[in-house]
């Protein structure tokens, strides 16, 4: 895990589809980490519907990232909202940054630098379910990307689609030749003319045109370690799906996925959301809260997570 002088770690929570539990997980893991005494900032960057504040029982925030962009507040830290939970702050409006088609990449980079310079131990970014390029970039730039998936075909299909987009984008950033970049772009289309169906076939084609770029692809695959949380599991068989997804990723992408843990299906989750009271505060003894707590403590103790995800 890479940490700078402030020991700050940025995790992004994305992939899957809407409703797989990313916001619930982001909020509750954030609270668990803050309860352990760490300073935590939650960033809401869900393009589909930013509502982390609702998970925290707060009214729609009056300050957001836009206030910083439009220079209504001098520092990004002034756009942070106190959540009422000690050590836990919230930044909303990051979806505007990701969504803005006209936002120059220089501006995006500057904002990312500002986010990275916030005084905190952990920054958790809820990316929502989309796979827009900005979302992928954020996912790739963090210290650890976490995918949330439920044991359903639709969720798994979307997760693989997101993972493929993120992986190919990472490869595209790593290779230097124009021809290799074009090939990767082409490979993103499943019905491409070059007949590339998998990362291995992409590697084979890149090797034909540029050996150096082929080596870069191999290196990137070896250091790409996204994390997985399986949500709403109802049986032991469901739990095992996490291990199977890990094996499938190894066979298909040639990457090592890290199975962080699972959260059991629990009606207390729905009840806590309806009450707008985070589960780990409302009912910390519930099964789902215990699963979240376990994952959070694992993240806190984690010293293995790889720098490049």
């Amino acid at each position: 895990m890479t940490r700078d002088q402030h020991q700050r770690v940025i995790w992004t929570i994305g992939g899957g589809k809407g409703g797989s539990g990313k916001s619930f997980i982001t909020t509750n893991i954030g609270i668990c980490l803050s309860k352990l005494g760490s300073r935590v900032i939650l960033i809401d960057a869900d393009l589909g519907g930013a509502n982390l504040h609702t998970f925290l029982g707060l009214l729609p925030p009056v300050t957001s990232l836009s206030d910083f962009i439009k220079k209504r507040v001098p520092h990004l830290k002034d756009a942070l909202i106190h959540t009422g939970v000690p050590n836990l702050q919230l930044l909303t409006g990051a979806q505007d940054l990701l969504n803005a088609a006209d936002a120059k990449s220089a501006l995006k980079r500057k904002l990312l630098r500002s986010i990275k310079s916030l005084e905190s131990d952990y920054i958790l970014v809820d990316l929502g379910g989309g796979n827009a390029l900005s979302v992928l970039d954020f996912f790739l730039m963090s210290d650890g990307g976490i995918l949330v998936v439920t044991p359903e075909p639709t969720s798994i299909e979307n997760t693989y689609r997101f993972l493929k987009s993120a992986f190919y984008r990472r490869l595209r950033q790593a290779v230097s030749s124009y021809s290799a970049k074009s090939l990767i772009d082409e490979a993103m289309d499943q019905k491409n003319e070059a007949g590339i169906r998998s990362p291995y076939e992409l590697l084979r084609e890149v090797r034909r045109i540029n050996e150096e770029d082929a080596l870069k692809i191999v290196e990137e695959a070896a250091t790409f370690h996204p994390n997985l949380i399986l949500n709403q599991v109802r049986s032991k068989k469901d739990i095992e799906i996490g291990f199977s997804i890990r094996s499938a990723c190894q066979k298909y992408f040639g990457i090592q996925l890290h199975y962080l843990g699972y959260i059991v299906y629990d009606q207390d989750v729905g009840n806590s959301i309806r009450k707008r009271r985070p589960l780990v505060l409302e009912n910390y003894r519930s099964k789902a809260a215990q699963c979240v707590t376990e994952i959070a403590s694992r993240l806190a103790n984690s010293h293995r997570m790889n720098p490049g995800i």
């Binding site: 590697l203 739990i239 094996s247 499938a248 376990e294």
Partner: protein, 197 residues
Amino acid sequence: MKRMEEQTYYEILEVSPDAGLKEIQRAYDHARETFHADSLAIYSLFSEEEMRKIQAAIEEAYRVLMDEALRRSYDQSHSHLIERSSREKQVEKPVKSSEIRSDLSFTDLSLETGEITYRGRSLKQLREKLGIDLKAVSAETKINMKTLELIEEEDLDHLPAMVYLKGFLKAYARALNLDPQKLIEGYFQLFQEKGKK
């Protein structure tokens, strides 16, 4: 990042080159469960042809690695690849999958899932394949030899009722690192088929 054709049998089953038979059996069961047509985990990822290729590779890897002589000969002829992949693994994977499992408190879970159920005879075959003596099972589980033999022979007439038998089956399954539930389910079906309770 290696294609299936370039992977060693150990890589195909995701076990280390010094894996024991129990570990290989578990890895095989897991791989078979993962890469079958109805598996949720592979949904939308592989074509039918790719699946056939993976399944064939898994079966071949299992066949060779579970046979002492075949494995020795394979290890000799592929020693350069096995050593290299094991070195690469150390660099690429600082965390062993087994460590992750225990770290995640997944240790109470066995890797056998889904359609695989065990009964007495299949249990015996598996035990013999793993090279475990019934006496060793008896010593580990504290179940007497006669009862273990009755379990393996599926002798329902002389076995205790299911309610008592469950404990024995659980202990026996654990001794072989299998999911106890799968054995209990297998036996339950057996009792149902024979119309006993």
